[in-house]
């Protein structure tokens, strides 16, 4: 079936696209196509009845076949990265067609091209409602497929009850799609389609007489059980029974894939069992037999079989442990990891990662293979092995493993990987650090490599560690050594070009040097101080928070040194005019301190007291002498506003104001009569 059914134009288009040699050429072809399609939308059929009659019809409306081809060409335009929104309206129109292929094409384009916020999606709701209520199975299916990708949360109520009815439709092709559509509704609008409602329906669909429908429902069950397995525990027996039938080849032959019976259904059920058996010895007990059976039967030497075996391995490692099964799983992993096929090696590594968390003893035998995988040129395999290493870490191998992780971090530019590895290094360093110094060195190294991915918490923790030391025993010497080393590490960093250093690293460095520069064996306080001044002077791209760290460090060092060198004074002067209020305030306060009270500088910025509480005397007793002196000289005593006064004032006010309100009711109105002088009335009238 070649392109004979296509119009000459379309055929030429495809030929041109197929033969184009560069992206630019392809872009030109598509631009021409867009122009052509736009003209088609406006082109009118040439015959017009003389003397009036019907207005000329748009060419596309007149010929459905042309309309459908128009849409497919529009799909090409969008698939190749160009905007085809001028034609979307035609897709909406075609979805209303009575010809099923045209309808499907219209819906297809809408699903593929309309953004979730596009208003045309709403325009389709009516059409989808009509189609799902049709007597034609094909139209119902068209609607179900469309609704799953086109619908948004607010449209769910309009379609909900119609789709629910389809769960009981006589055709299995419909039921299979209806359950997925319902699940989609639940994902988009959990208030409209509630969990319990969907779960009740799922129980029925799982036991549908058509295995295809059952297979479809497994997806929904897996998805929902992952969120909350409890309501699905009662399904374990049914699932096991279904799996048994599948592996015994009792499904129709169409389900066989290269003689493995329904491998994807097997995989799904095994995955669901993993969720339901986790931490549940009762549920797990019932599964052991079938899992063993499934694993054995799937081992037929082809990929589809291995995929099932692997799924069983994963499940065996997540449910309540059974030693026979674990041995079988370990055996399978061994075979995978030693296989010549890279794909199977990959599974070996992932399988090992799954088993090693809960049962580390199985990992020992494969150390050589793991190292080989780590050094394989296949990047995917390397990454999987890193994952495995992360799970295999213990106090003995932590240094080796972190070295490897840092190596990888240095070599990659993939930001997802960087983020992932950084988190892993932080977590491992925290859990397994052999000593504080190693932790400080490792985390500092991490800051240098990928500081932008490290959380603020980690740097806070590091600073606390350096300030407080181990905390267990009051070993001042060890603490000092730690600080000395930290200072050496960070002072060295001062030599590096700052453009290369992540902000978090600079902040930590500034803090450490500000607190403990006096411990440095290589530099004098003044040298470090002047280097910091250089740093902040040259650092135009530094973040505000980083600048503050450096300036504060400079201030601390000035306090420790006792004198303020001119560079430092200039820097503080410059920043006292900073737009950042916090920085400005600090600088101005510091300047005031230096000029008027330099002797208390050491108290305001004490050495090594970052973790001590600031003692505050809320009564400000140190001011008492000043106050009594001032009062003696005639100053007025402070009249503290009394809270009680407020209420008293209010009563006072209300009592004085009471006279303004007449609390007595008005006198009742009296009937006119005797009080009126009849003569006066008469006087008016006559």
């Amino acid at each position: 079936m070649s392109g004979m059914h296509l119009s000459k134009e379309f055929f030429e288009l495809l030929k041109a696209i197929g033969e184009s040699k560069s992206k630019q050429e392809e872009d030109r072809i598509i631009q021409r196509e867009i122009a052509t399609l736009k003209k088609k939308m406006e082109a009118k059929v040439s015959k017009v009845a003389i003397g009036g009659g019907a207005p000329p019809q748009n060419q596309l409306n007149a010929n459905k076949k042309k309309a459908k081809e128009f849409l497919v060409r529009l799909l090409y335009v969008e698939m190749l990265g160009h905007d085809g929104s001028f034609g979307y309206i035609k897709a909406v129109e075609l979805a209303a067609s009575s010809s099923i292929i045209h309808k499907r094409t219209g819906y297809l384009l809408c699903s593929a091209c309309l953004a979730p916020s596009h208003e045309f999606r709403f325009m389709l709701v009516n059409q989808m409602q009509r189609d799902i209520s049709s007597s034609s199975i094909l139209e119902i299916c068209a609607s179900l497929i469309a609704v799953t990708s086109i619908i948004t949360g607010d449209m769910v109520p309009a379609m909900q009850s119609l789709v629910v009815k389809m769960l009981d439709h006589s055709s299995e092709i419909v039921r299979k799609k209806a359950i997925i559509a319902m699940h989609r509704f639940h994902q988009l609008a959990p208030e409209a389609v509630e969990r319990q409602e969907l779960i009740d329906k799922l129980r029925k669909v799982l036991c549908d007489r058509d295995p295809g429908v059952m297979g479809s429902s497994l997806n929904v069950i897996e998805s929902m059980a992952a969120v909350d397995p409890k309501p699905f525990k009662e399904l374990v027996a049914s699932l096991i029974s279904i799996l048994k039938q599948v592996i015994e080849h009792r499904l129709p032959t169409d389900f066989e894939y290269h003689r493995v019976p329904a491998p994807w259904i097997q995989m799904k059920i095994v995955r669901i069992l993993a969720i339901l058996g986790k931490n549940d010895s009762n549920a797990s007990n019932g599964m052991y037999e079938i899992l063993g059976e499934t694993m054995k039967k799937a081992d037929v030497g082809i990929n589809a079989g291995y995929a099932v075996v692997y799924e069983c391995v994963r499940t065996i490692t997540s449910i309540y442990p059974n030693s026979t099964l674990l041995d079988a799983a370990a055996d399978a992993i061994s075979r995978f990891i030693q296989s010549k096929s890279q794909n199977l090696k990959y599974f070996g590594v992932t399988g090992l990662a799954a088993i090693v968390e809960s049962h580390p003893q199985y990992a020992a035998a494969h150390q050589m293979s793991v190292i080989e995988c780590l050094e394989d040129r296949d990047e995917t395999l390397q990454r999987r092995t890193l994952d495995l290493l992360y799970k295999m870490t213990n106090p003995v191998n932590v240094q080796f493993i972190i070295e490897k992780l840092l190596d990888f971090l240095r070599g990659t530019t993939d930001s997802f990987l960087k983020e992932d590895l950084t988190a892993k290094v932080c977590s491992l360093a925290e859990r397994y650090a052999p000593n504080n110094l190693w932790y400080v060195e490792t985390i500092t190294e991490l800051f240098a490599i990928s500081g932008e991915f490290v959380s603020q918490e980690v740097s806070q923790q590091l600073m606390t560690l350096i300030a407080e030391g181990a905390g267990e025993d009051e070993d001042d010497d060890a603490d000092t050594i730690l600080r000395q080393h930290s200072v050496t590490i960070y002072a060295d960093l001062l030599e590096k070009p700052i453009a290369k250093l992540p902000q978090l690293l600079i902040e930590t460095m500034a803090w450490v040097l500000g607190e403990y520069a006096y411990l440095s064996a290589d530099f004098t306080l003044e040298e470090i101080l002047s280097k910091l001044c250089e740093l902040v002077r040259k650092g135009k791209q530094l973040k505000e928070s980083t600048r503050k760290f450096i300036v504060t460090a400079i201030m601390k060092l000035v306090a420790q040194a006792g004198t303020c060198p001119p560079q430092a004074a200039k820097i503080i002067d410059d920043f006292s005019k900073s737009k950042d209020q916090d920085l400005q305030q600090r600088c101005i306060e510091f300047q005031n301190l230096i000029t008027s009270a330099p002797h208390i500088l050491a108290e305001v910025l004490p050495i090594d007291a970052s973790c001590e509480d600031v003692q505050v005397d809320p009564n400000l007793t140190f001011m008492d002498a000043y106050v009594s002196h001032a009062i003696a000289n005639g100053a007025k005593q402070y009249d503290k506003p009394d809270d009680d006064d407020d209420e008293a004032d209010y009563e006072l006010a209300s009592s004085t104001k009471a006279s303004a309100f007449k609390m007595t009711p008005y006198a009742k109105p009296t009937k006119p009569g005797a009080s009126y002088n009849s003569s006066s009335m008469g006087g008016v009238g006559s």
Binding site: H5, L80, A115, S149, Q187, F416
Partner: protein, 161 residues
């Protein structure tokens, strides 16, 4: 869940793309070109899986055409911190199943067939994958549905003659 299915040729031209999680056009274009570049840079001896920007990706090459499936953690599970549980080998075989299905439908499938009947390829995919889940793997069932569709449309066209 399956986030996208792509059919891209060696020159990086997309022949068919289906997304089950919405991506704006510029992101799609960038993703498609980057992924095919990565696939092309890998040798035959390396495994058929790769990781790209958080997508666990499975690819398989048939002559000049790459079939690529990108997966992400299931949306429901992701909300509770779940990982991507997709079985890579299972999806690799699913690609093969898809190709076998298209082969049966077209009587020996090739890149041109996909180009000339793009919408039909989408319809086949629609039968097999919905909302990023595999719902049908039996060739017979899939092709029966497509056959129904084609017969109905031929009837319709006859009417228009």
């Amino acid at each position: 869940m399956i986030s996208f299915i792509l059919m891209v040729n060696k020159q990086g031209q997309t022949r068919c793309s289906k997304y089950y999680q919405w991506l704006p056009m510029e992101e799609r274009v960038a993703l498609e070109s980057e992924i095919i570049r990565k696939c092309l840079s890998r040798s035959e001896l390396q495994c058929s899986f790769l990781e790209y920007r958080g997508y666990k990706t499975i690819y398989r090459r048939y002559a000049s055409l790459f079939f690529i499936i990108g997966t992400k953690p299931d949306i429901d599970a992701a909300q509770v911190g779940g990982e991507n549980k997709e079985n890579e080998l299972g999806l690799l075989e699913f690609i093969h199943n898809l190709v076998e299905t298209m082969d049966k439908w077209a009587g020996s499938i090739c890149e041109l067939d996909i180009m000339y009947q793009l919408e039909e390829v989408h319809f086949i995919l629609d039968e097999m994958v919905m909302n990023g889940y595999i719902v049908e793997t039996c060739k017979g069932a899939t092709l029966k549905a497509i056959d129904l569709l084609e017969r109905e449309s031929r009837k319709g066209e006859a009417m228009f003659k």
